[in-house]
Symmetry: D2
Subunit: 400 residues, 4 copies
């Protein structure tokens, strides 16, 4: 998705491997293989033919550059992919490849696969982010920090509660993404115009089999004309990006020279000023997540496709989807690294709180009461976090 110059900064190898060309081609082939198997399960394709097709469905047998070049002629890479798959098979088996399917079936289902795989990796990093925040929330539960509103000193709070707030946000994002991975990323089995006409009475069974084989949801209807699934995914990625951006931006602010309440454990130097210690990871989190919402809007603004397959807006979904998944993955990894290495200067935090002007000290609640109130909230956040983590762990995501 990115050339190498910025890949290390904004994405991770693990998530890139889920959404790159190789992964997408393999996913398309997985769909073709699953379709052949599903058709065999209902008797439309000989079992042996399905097995032969499946054995050939390995990305390394195909040339991405050639498929890409010929795919441009069709505004779809599926046409040449199917042609190459058929060409590599015995004559009598070729007609069982791509049976009753259309390009959009393959590409939509493959997109669900790569997004689901990408989400699993991202969720792993978000788990680590949440753990780091839970640790910080607990560790700093009684460490006072001045609260800032409109970036002005307001009343004291605790750094533990600040972290608990970030934790609750990340947990919210984790639940939403996990739900989408489980319920919303669906197989698409519709055929040329979405009515599964070629499968006769076997349509529902084939669709169900395909979904089961690929560990995807089986939707009520083919969703070729209803783009809420990819758009909801895009929105959920943007929401998660917002949760991470909040952490990144606030670390930048707390790391300001004048504030210096936190710093990154390992930061890079500057090309001009060797003495500087920049909040490099936090900046990468802000920079990476900044790009997500507009890309999500690109998907959200292209849902009104024409007829039974859109003439442009559908084709425009895939690139932003792959991109935002990569960006979210990179931001999650950077946030994890940022938090696990974060240096917190609690003495400085306390000194700032204690140096408040007298008139502020009077008007504010006693700090002990505040710490107790904040502690109650932290406990709620940590308990909720436990529930989220347990619920997500119980889900058969990995082996589903």
């Amino acid at each position: 998705m990115y050339d190498v110059l910025f890949r290390s900064a904004y994405i991770t190898q693990a998530v890139n491997a889920c959404v790159d060309d190789h992964a997408l081609i393999q996913a398309m082939l997985d769909v073709e293989a699953a379709l052949a198997t599903a058709c065999a399960q209902v008797g439309l394709v000989p079992q042996a033919a399905a097995a032969t097709i499946g054995a050939r469905c390995r990305a390394e047998f195909f040339d991405p550059a050639s498929i890409g070049e010929r795919g441009a002629e069709h505004a779809s890479p599926v046409v040449p992919l199917v042609a190459d798959l058929r060409a590599a098979l015995p004559e009598e088996i070729r007609r069982y490849v791509h049976l009753g399917a259309t390009s959009q079936d393959i590409l939509d289902t493959a997109t669900s696969i790569v997004m689901r795989d990408g989400l699993r990796v991202v969720l792993g990093d978000l788990d680590a982010v949440a753990e780091a925040l839970a640790f910080l929330a607990d560790r700093h539960a009684t460490d006072v920090q001045i609260g800032r509103t409109l970036l002005q000193h307001a009343e004291p709070t605790t750094f533990g509660l600040v972290c608990a707030g970030w934790l609750t946000g990340v947990d919210d994002a984790r639940q939403r993404l996990a739900r989408i991975a489980d319920e919303r990323l669906a197989a698409q089995v519709g055929g040329a115009v979405g009515n599964r006409a070629a499968y006769g009475p076997h349509g529902p069974a084939i669709a169900r089999h395909v979904a089961e084989l690929l560990d995807l949801a089986d939707p009520v209807l083919p969703w070729h004309t209803d783009r809420q699934r990819p758009a909801e995914l895009a929105a959920a990625v943007a929401l998660a990006g917002g949760a991470l951006a909040t952490i990144g931006r606030n670390v930048v602010l707390l790391a300001q020279t004048e504030v210096a309440e936190v710093s990154e454990g390992s930061t890079g130097g500057s090309s001009a000023m060797p003495h500087k210690r920049n909040p490099a990871r936090a900046v990468l989190v802000v920079a990476g997540t900044h790009q997500i919402a507009p890309l999500a809007a690109s998907v959200l603004s292209g849902m009104d496709g024409e007829g039974q397959r859109a003439a442009g807006s559908w084709q425009a979904e895939l690139a932003p989807l792959r991109r935002i998944m990569a960006l979210l993955g990179g931001a999650a990894a950077n946030t994890r690294d940022l938090l696990t290495g974060l240096r917190v200067d609690t003495a400085r935090m306390r000194a700032t709180v204690e140096s408040r002007p007298a008139d502020q000290l009077e008007s504010a609640p006693a700090d002990e009461a505040m710490v107790a109130a904040a502690g109650t909230l932290i406990a709620r956040a940590l308990a909720a976090h436990e529930r989220v983590t347990t619920a997500l762990a119980d889900e058969p995501r990995e082996d589903g």
Copy 2:
């Protein structure tokens, strides 16, 4: 939200009344009243004082223009609203107004109220849209229509299935919006920096009481720094807008002079060409929904607020939120009117299908099998629709 020149075209009076200035002021006052009551429930405020405060919390006692003008000085209308409320109360009661709260508590909770009320109205119109689509899906279950991909004739389908596809999309949007109205629109009770310090041990109880009194969700933590709630709402509105935009755009396309498979029951003339019959409502649906996704992106891209209250991005949420709710409401009403008056020329649809070139007739599945396959899908969609409608009806939305 709109001046009158375009109000009739793009929003409805019913939804406008939920989100306009009067409604927002009343909602802020409802929050102040609920807070006083909640504080009385835990003993921080005398019951009589809470009752006196509540009796004064009526929008008609306040001057929006004056509040607006003074509010600009504070970047918040809550400061003058609270001042005016206090000024209208006996001296000894004033200190019980806005107890332990901050501007953001009031405005965030009030936003939840007006959005929830707006959603209820919109959901009513979306119910009608879904019913109209269910009727059309059933009525035209066996009416063949040519499927179009990339706007080229592909294979036949049925108009009933096309409508079933739109129905499934709208049902999806209804469920998502209803879930958000019930679970995500939450009370905000955080105090100056989100730790509820002023309430001592009573924080959780007060927050719960406020939420119950206002029929809003009681969140794990104050969400002043976690903007996923408003952003998720914005995204859900955009997703619903996409479901409606799909209907609007496709009615425009099917109403083209050359296609003429559907037409609007009552359409307006043109200022230049009296003979024209324009798909006016469908155009309004497209035009109204086109504006939603960018406004949702405005909220999605401002989640990374600074410290314990953002210095700009938080303040920028409310206008787009009110706007998109109004736009969605108008689009839902226009879609409802469009569908209930839709004229469907099934003879013309059939003629187009039957005039296919011979080579296409050969390669396509028999139309009877197609109608049966499509019918299976329509039945699935209608059954799912029933489940959605039942589930939504069971929810105590109206009486909280």
Copy 3:
């Protein structure tokens, strides 16, 4: 555009009066009047008829609510407006109203008028912003301030140069907006499908006359299908918004309690903490400008209209255009007030510079050399500012 609760915060009365319903109706009537006059100039309409039409073209004679309601039926307010205008005229004159025109001609040209008028007001406020910045750049030309990169202390600069940078940005925006007001806001005279067929050989002359009468540009072709004019305007408004947002955000940052290098002259209190002094105007600038880019994107993403008049995307342009002009106007006024009342603590700035660690002092250039270098740049900026101001003043904008 806004209801009253936030109008004072985000827009000004002066710019609102340029783009509100009354202004838009008057602008549409001005177009009808100009068209009648132009047709009279080429002999297609009797001079007396044109005069009678013109005399009737006053917004106060029309009922916006009624026009709005009936306009919804046509997805255009022009149809009822023309009907009402004709109905108010003698029978024999009615056919000379709206001669050869189409709704889009009237609405596009009226949009050019209200945007041009709005721009003139906004440019006036931007002139004041630029003057305030030029004053600050000059006044603080030798006042050292620490430069901050990634919000870390870097090397010293001068506050004068910081202001000069903001000035150059605002001057850039002023030039762009003035150019658009003069060259890009054009009359639209195309007729039903954009070929001016109804005017026979008089088309070019009528179009030129209309443009001259309304002080708008006369384009090469009708631009009904080429939406770069409104989209470029939207982009220019967003660019200007960015220039102001930079000022607003940096004032917020420099006003942080820990930094405290600047403060707003008059700021509002907080509802929870009376002691706080919030950078209210700067926050309003950030919050107002934050909403502009997404609304501009709404226009930029709807340029690909269908045929000779778009079925939705064209209709979706006007609301965001009016909105962003109002938002830019409000941001310009707020920035002007912010800057003219800005308190600058040069002693604190200097103290921060002088308290740099020894290793930084060594590696940095001598401050005197820096001040001289910065002074050279300030002088360039001020000279360029003079040129811009002179050039803009020379333009016959007001009396066009």
Copy 4:
């Protein structure tokens, strides 16, 4: 920018070569070389040292993957690039590398270079698009076609005028892009905090030399804090994308089976329906351009950077800029191919016009007069096109 699977569909090799990693690294090295030369011109660097540095500034000597990996630590690839460049040079020369510069100087100026180079390629393809449209406008000047408003038949026009409208739009885009390439893509020479302190009195001369050596504009001030230059570029790319999207979408609509007034000369088949002829290039144009406006919005919404270098939004500019340049280049090439191979069925166009209902024939102007009026406009468009082409050819872009 894209992996290979979709590269052929959405971008061209020529534009990709301008903006890919290799090009960006070479551009950064070109900036370092130019800086050394400029410093030598004012005597700050020995001529021989500058020559030695320049000779080493070749991208093939550097390892993009290694630079990328180490760059992530600094949120900037410039730090390791400079380190590697220095390491490859004799000890005594190293201090002359990157003299007085900061990372942002190098990356901003390099971005100007790659964008300028990309624009030149894109402008070449847009020239060809414009020529193709001029040819079509002239050839079909008298070929009548029904005009369509809201996709309903309105009054007749000519296909030549439709093409002239597209031509005027593309010419507008060409002028804007060319102006930006010449005037707005600027060198950035600011040093650590933008005051050129390290260069003493030589700052202006060095900046001018760097700009001249790299054929870029020399701005009034360093623009590190004023992001209107990249944002205006992004907006101009989006505007040009809109001009192309209009062509793509309308070809799709005119190629509809029911309309069939145009078709693509060579189109691909479908994986499900071999008989179909899809408007594949037009779909690619729509799909590619759809992604541009949101990416441009990403840049437009990140202009309000913090202090003397932004902590995230600046870093977020480059990826969308590279992407939209590639997308625009691909759309321009696809549009060129689409238009040069376009098949126009003028007989069918005429038959549609002549089959209008009698009442429409009466109310419409005579077709001969319409053709004459349209011809006048076509002539204007072609004359303006000549002027644009001459003006662009006169500019010393290539050898600047």
